[in-house]
């Protein structure tokens, strides 16, 4: 008589199903189990990628599905890569990426270091700091638009309180020189807690015994920071930079809500240009080529980064 649940299930399986299953090798069974996942991956990730590559060589327009699609070769790529406007957009994205990454890493690490010190209300402060990250980017974009209002905005009032200037004397999202910094400030406000959490995990993973040994060797606090804390948190920091770098390269919703790419095109990031080409001008072929260029850039950077991360972890 079968005793266990598995034995009972095996005994209850009809003979015409059980016989072919019993003859399957372990490898074949493994393939049966992972096949649905592979199929999903192919359908959701690989197929759209291949389709986009195919479209990038055509003049296809999604708003004219019945029009004849012509193969244009590398023409879309040539037009993108010789367009000074696209080049300017890339520079805006580079400025946004560098500024946000530097600010988020520096402030995020500093906050993590502070939170890691034992003090009263430690958990409460962690929760308060993490709050912006939990909001929707569309909501954040909307309420920062109000905060940046020259007449009634809290941000302008705060700046004028410290500088003594007129709150209505400047507009963060309306001036060419200030608008790029307006989106940097909001992104930093929203995503610094994410970097802080990753750094905090790194800081809490450092065994206390290492610091005790350093104390015995009379190492100064600064030396402990440089030779213990920083090297051990580095893999976590690199991970945070990778995540934020890729996310900010694709940044769209927050900036659209805040500035819509303006004034002029001073805050028009690549993703906004891509969306305009694909869904406002309906140049699907051109937009596909644009998306492939961005994909190669992100894929390349990620490859280097994962390699560097593995090296640091192995150290």
């Amino acid at each position: 008589m079968p005793e266990t649940v598995i034995e009972r299930a095996a005994a209850a399986t009809p003979a015409q199903i059980a016989r072919p299953l019993r003859s399957l090798s372990d490898r074949a069974l493994a393939w049966i189990f992972i096949a649905p996942t592979i199929f999903l991956l192919l359908a959701v990730n690989i197929f759209p990628l291949i389709w986009t590559i195919r479209l990038s060589f055509t003049n296809f327009r999604a708003n004219r599905p019945n029009a004849e699609v012509q193969f244009v070769g590398l023409e879309n790529y040539r037009r993108i890569l010789t367009d000074p406007d696209v080049w300017a957009t890339m520079q805006v994205t580079a400025h946004f990426l560098i500024a946000t990454l530097v600010l988020q890493v520096v402030i995020g690490f500093a906050l993590a270091w502070l939170i890691n010190q034992k003090f009263r209300g430690n958990d409460l402060w962690t929760t308060i700091i993490v709050l912006p990250m939990m909001l929707s980017p569309a909501v954040v974009g909307n309420f920062w638009t109000f905060l940046y209002q020259p007449q009634i905005g809290l941000f302008n009032a705060a700046v004028s309180f410290f500088t003594g200037g007129d709150p209505a004397g400047f507009s963060m999202i309306g001036e060419v020189a200030l608008a790029p910094w307006a989106i940097v400030i909001v992104d930093t406000w929203m995503w610094t807690p994410f970097v802080m959490l990753i750094c905090l995990a790194g800081l809490r993973s450092i065994p206390q015994s290492i610091y005790e040994a350093a104390e015995c060797d009379r190492a100064s606090k600064w030396r402990q920071f440089v030779t213990i804390t920083l090297p051990m948190v580095l893999p976590f920091l690199m991970l945070a930079v990778l995540f934020r770098g890729i996310e900010n390269f694709k940044m769209f919703d927050l900036v659209v809500q805040l500035t819509g790419g303006g004034p002029g095109s001073t805050t028009e990031l690549t993703s906004i240009t891509l969306k305009r080409e694909a869904f406002e001008k309906w140049r699907t072929g051109y937009a596909s080529a644009y998306a492939i260029i961005l994909f190669v850039a992100v894929f390349g950077i990620s490859s280097i980064y994962v390699k560097a991360l593995n090296k640091v972890k192995a150290r």
Binding site: Y77, L81, T82, P84, W87, M90, Q91, T93, A94, I293, V296, A297, F299, G300, I301, S303, I304, K307
Partner: protein, 62 residues
């Protein structure tokens, strides 16, 4: 330098990955730099070469 060149000749992963990484980095810099439009124009081909090379050489022996 000698070890690096020997690694390249013997098709070892480390040096070839280094070459691919330099190509990708150079391509991304060319894509986003504010100095020359011609560098921007050739950025994609450099990035693509680096990325494809990286995928291939990551299967080379250590």
């Amino acid at each position: 330098m000698r070890a690096f060149l020997t690694g390249l000749l013997r098709l070892r992963r480390g040096p070839w990955e280094m070459v691919a990484s330099v190509l990708i980095g150079l391509g991304v810099f060319m894509l986003m730099q504010p100095f020359a439009l011609v560098a921007f124009s050739y950025s994609f081909i450099v990035m693509l070469a680096g990325t494809v090379m990286f995928i291939i050489v990551s299967h080379f022996p250590e």
